[in-house]
């Protein structure tokens, strides 16, 4: 077989041309990549080099293992194959290139090495099949938020050409060399097809050369094109995974907020490059699913364009403000911070930190809608968003026939941080009382902070008012330090999240924060609470975002429900896939977004109602209760589906 690079082409030996093409390709590629890096260097620094072991682990699981892609099994498998085919072909490309550039190097071409050729050909065939699957999905069964862009089409064609040219080349080689390479089944198979369609054997060596050069030129071209296309993600996403946030639910470090490129950190901007525009974030976003203006994918795309604008035009901007013109404030406010986008994203993009940085900027400029302003003012003044006197915080206890201990004045075993919704919202008071009675029945020694309890600040932070959060946290920490308690539990998952993760060490270094469902689960397991009669209901359970996805508490509420005897049917989206009710991220303090088709809470109650025979949608968060009750009315499901809090069911089951 002739050596593809020794043969003369246009008067010069092949390797001359190869050198020329390689230098051009590498230069174009390198130059563009360097410019990207330079723009990122203008952004705020952030250290993502810590915990190298953990980071490598992430790369192994998510880049090599493509774990998150497999949540959509068919395309996940296809992508895994394409990925490994790509790895294989990239490796053999560089091998081919090395050998081709330096003919004097005494190494064989990769397809002359048995096991390499076998692996590469097998992956080639699988890759072609996977490409076909991907193409059919993209063009015939297009999922939401997946674009049939020219870029995508071009890339699919390029990859196809790369694979097909290699397989064809193997076929031609087999034809030319006869039965030598019997361990190349694919090569032999393809050769047989060529023979079958009448390709003359004497042409095979020439055709092999053509195939080799087409293959190399395509890849070199692809390499040069890569940093100009959406497939920059091929290069960027492994880095994205490596530099992922090891604490994805953590707030970005305190900042003034961001409205221009330089205000964001380099990692926040990097999300734009790592994004492959797969649309998983959109498909799982409660805001987007309701027809609201926020599209997490579009947001990342805007970030990419922001950086590219810096790459293409380093001198000046185009006068458009990023936050304001490109990304509109209503998009920024629409997010519920449910965390679904970041949980699904296969390249670990950071949508929520981007939004929070922008919210911080809007807040610092006072660009805040009236209702939200009122919430801030009320929180700052009265410690609750309802604008009710702080003296009425414990008014809900008045109709109980026993007095709750005051944890400010006497030591208690369990401090119950009730949370503002459970204290002030008229629809919820009876549920709060229900829990109070149940705990008393169980003989739990608990107390509350009465008027000293203020909003914990979780949602205040997510809305970008860091200063107010710090004010609240300061006051709460002072109160908690003076109170005497061993353990702390709360009714509200939002309170749970911030007390657990964002408050300094509570209860004297122990810092154990529990949700009331965890407490109930223990009491039931221990026997302190006895189920007097099992509840014969068919129910489904909604995992609250801040309890489940944010903090991994999935089992205790289910353990409680099991102990109560109900027949639990899971919704299609449960556990980490739970679909947000729409109240988080401060949205419950904001105006509804006009023009949306529906509301996240309506989507969720319909999902619950779609389960056969389910009477109750069980919740463990006060905001879920309020949102779903409203949604029952607006969807006309009132009377067909009912909302119950776990506390209510527990009280019913333990009643004699």
């Amino acid at each position: 077989m002739p050596d593809p690079v020794s043969l003369p082409i246009l008067g010069l030996p092949g390797y001359f041309h190869l050198w020329a093409l390689t230098l051009v390709s590498f230069f174009v590629f390198g130059n563009r990549v360097v410019r990207h890096v330079r723009v990122l260097a203008q952004a705020r620094p952030e250290n993502r080099w810590d915990h190298l072991g953990q980071r490598i682990g992430l790369v192994v699981k998510n880049v090599l293992g493509q774990r998150r892609m497999l949540d959509e099994p068919l395309i996940g498998a296809a992508h895994l194959i394409i990925f490994w085919a790509f790895v294989a072909y990239a490796s053999t490309f560089f091998w081919n290139l090395l050998r081709g550039l330096i003919p004097a190097l005494a190494i064989p071409y990769p397809d002359d090495v048995r096991w390499v050729a076998f692996v590469v050909q097998a992956l080639g065939v699988l890759g072609v099949i996977a490409l076909a699957v991907a193409a059919v999905r993209r063009y015939m069964f297009t999922p939401t938020s997946l674009e049939r862009s020219r870029d995508a089409t071009l890339i699919l064609i390029l990859i196809a050409v790369v694979l097909v040219s290699a397989l064809a080349g193997a076929g031609f080689k087999a034809m030319a060399t006869g039965g030598e390479h019997s361990w190349q089944p694919v090569g032999k198979f393809v050769a047989a097809i060529f023979v079958g369609v009448g390709v003359p054997r004497w042409l095979a060596p020439a055709l092999f050369l053509w195939a080799w050069w087409i293959h190399m030129i395509t890849v070199l071209g692809f390499l040069a094109y890569l940093p100009y296309s959406k497939h920059l993600h091929l290069l960027a996403s492994p880095f994205g995974v490596f530099f992922a946030s090891l604490e994805p639910n953590k707030m970005p470090a305190p900042s003034e907020g961001a409205s221009r490129l330089q205000d964001f950190t380099w990692r926040e901007l990097f999300s734009g490059f790592a994004c492959a525009e797969c649309g998983r974030c959109d498909r799982t976003c409660p805001s987007f699913s309701s027809g609201e203006p926020l599209s997490p994918k579009q947001l990342i795309h805007h970030v990419k364009e922001l950086v590219l604008a810096g790459v293409e035009n380093p001198a000046g901007g185009n006068g458009k403000k990023f936050l304001g013109d490109v990304v509109r404030p209503e998009d920024v406010w629409a997010c519920t911070t449910c965390g679904s986008c970041m949980e699904r994203c296969p390249v670990f993009n950071e949508h929520i930190p981007l939004l929070i940085e922008m919210r911080r900027k809007l807040v610092s400029e006072g660009d805040v809608q009236t209702r939200l302003q009122e919430a801030f003012t009320n929180l700052s003044r009265y410690g609750n968003s309802f604008g009710q006197s702080e003296r009425k915080r414990a008014a809900w206890t008045q109709s109980l026939d026993f007095k709750l201990k005051d944890a400010r004045k006497e030591p208690v075993q369990w401090l119950w941080y009730v949370g503002e919704y459970a204290c002030y919202h008229p629809s919820l008071l009876e549920i709060t009382r229900s829990l109070a009675r149940t705990l008393r029945t169980a003989g739990v020694d608990y107390g509350i902070l009465y008027e000293a309890e203020r909003n914990s600040g979780n949602d205040v932070r997510r809305v970008g008012e860091e200063g107010l959060f710090e004010l609240l946290r300061q006051k709460n920490v002072a109160t908690l330090e003076k109170a005497q308690f061993k353990n702390l539990f709360t009714t509200d998952p939002h309170v749970y999240n911030t007390l657990k993760n964002e408050y300094p060490n509570l209860n004297h270094g122990q810092h154990v924060v529990s949700h009331y469902t965890e407490l109930l689960a223990w009491l039931l397991a221990d026997g302190q609470l006895q189920v007097k009669h099992k509840l014969p209901y068919r129910v489904t359970y909604h995992d609250p975002c801040y309890l489940g996805r944010y903090n991994g508490v999935y089992d205790p509420p289910r353990a409680v429900l099991k102990a109560l005897g109900v027949d639990l049917n899971e919704m299609p989206r449960s556990h980490g896939q739970s679909f947000c009710c729409g109240a988080g991220g401060g949205r419950i303090w904001m105006e509804e977004i006009g023009g949306a088709k529906t509301r996240p809470s309506e989507i969720r109650v319909r999902e619950a109602a779609s389960l056969d025979g389910v009477q109750y949608l069980v919740v463990a968060c006060p905001k879920d209760y309020v949102m779903f009750q409203d949604a029952l009315k607006t969807t006309g499901l009132e009377g067909k589906l009912f909302i119950k809090d776990i506390a209510e069911l527990a009280e019913e089951a333990i009643a004699a």
């Binding site: 009236t370 509804e592 009315k633």
Partner: protein, 329 residues
């Protein structure tokens, strides 16, 4: 000469406003109890013919001047002060509306006399004048003894029924010359009317009024459906107009329209005094508010502590069913 009780007549857009008659009724009571004359005072340009309707008073002081044509409180105070000094009444009642808000305070300052604001009532207790004022947004009331010889009171609308202040006889009208007024530093340019082409809510028999308790502009549709079912129109309290849910012409209250429909349904309205001023004389008032302590329930005839999102559709349906049943009967 026994010191008189004076009532400042308010004229707005060429008409004597109702509050003037309310004050005349109150003034008449006090004057009768003290055995003194009741004097009305009318300021403006070419307003003499309006004086005829102020017959509850024994006489009317009519002060006409070009500069008094436009409602500029400090010009009025400037014109009034010397006349009050010269004539020496013991009490001057001034209506408290958007036309005259600052006038009482200005006049009292010029005359070095005490002023009592926000009076909802005034009467004699043991021969001495005692007033009842509304303070802290209506949460509390204060009883005050204004010292004599001269006191100036700012009286809120609704102190007495206007009918009681209309007199049959024509009063004696005295024209008082207005001494030259300084060239005012404040000049009225013109009026800005609310957008035309909309309905006049003061002429509606049925009004469905919405407040912040409606939560959302989208819920306005619920109110509109109910209004349609009852053959009425939608209006609102100041906050919903400020938020742009309804135009200015639909605002009920102190700065809006005063309405007296046969049915006033207040949905999600708390009942702040400025709003109540605009609707409290409605024939039938029905209030919906989730807060049982909402002040609106003090002025409503019937009420329900329900969620407007639940109750409005229910009311609409019940009303429609009734109408259908009637039309089939």
């Amino acid at each position: 000469m026994a010191q008189e009780i004076w009532v400042l007549a308010e004229q707005w857009k060429g008409q004597i406003s109702d509050i003037t008659y309310e004050l005349l009724a109150l003034g008449d009571e006090l004057a009768t109890a003290l055995g003194v004359n009741l004097q009305a005072v009318l300021l403006g340009k070419q307003v003499k013919q309006l004086a005829q309707s102020l017959g509850k008073a024994s006489s009317v002081l009519c002060m006409e001047h070009d500069a008094l044509e436009a409602p500029v409180p400090e010009v009025f105070a400037q014109a009034l002060a010397p006349v009050v000094r010269a004539r020496n009444p013991q009490l001057v009642l001034i209506p408290l509306t958007n036309v005259t808000l600052e006038l009482g305070s200005l006049l009292a300052a010029k005359l070095d006399a005490p002023y009592v604001n926000s009076c909802k009532n005034a009467r004699l207790v043991d021969g001495k004048l005692r007033t009842r004022s509304v303070v802290y947004g209506g949460k509390l009331e204060v009883l005050v003894n204004p010292p004599q010889p001269l006191a100036i009171l700012g009286i809120l609308p609704g102190a007495r029924p206007a009918e009681q202040g209309r007199g049959e006889k024509a009063p004696a009208v005295e024209e008082v010359r207005v001494d030259s007024l300084e060239i005012p530093a404040i000049r009225l340019h013109g009026y800005i009317e609310p957008e035309a082409g909309d309905i006049d809510i003061s002429k509606q028999d049925v009004l469905v009024s919405v407040g912040r308790g409606l939560q959302n502009k989208d819920n306005l549709a619920l109110a509109e459906e109910l209004a349609a079912a009852l053959g009425g129109a939608v209006c609102g309290s100041r906050p919903v107009i400020d938020q742009g849910w309804l135009p200015l012409s639909r605002q009920v209250g102190k700065s809006g329209v005063v309405v007296k429909p046969k049915l006033y349904l207040a949905a999600g309205i708390s009942g702040a005094p400025e709003h109540v001023e605009g609707m409290k004389n409605s024939d039938l008032i029905f209030a919906i508010n989730t807060d049982p302590q909402a002040p609106i329930f003090n002025v409503a005839h019937y009420g329900a502590t329900a969620d407007v999102m639940d109750l409005l559709p229910a009311l609409t349906e019940a009303a429609r069913n009734r109408k259908e049943a009637k039309s089939h009967a």
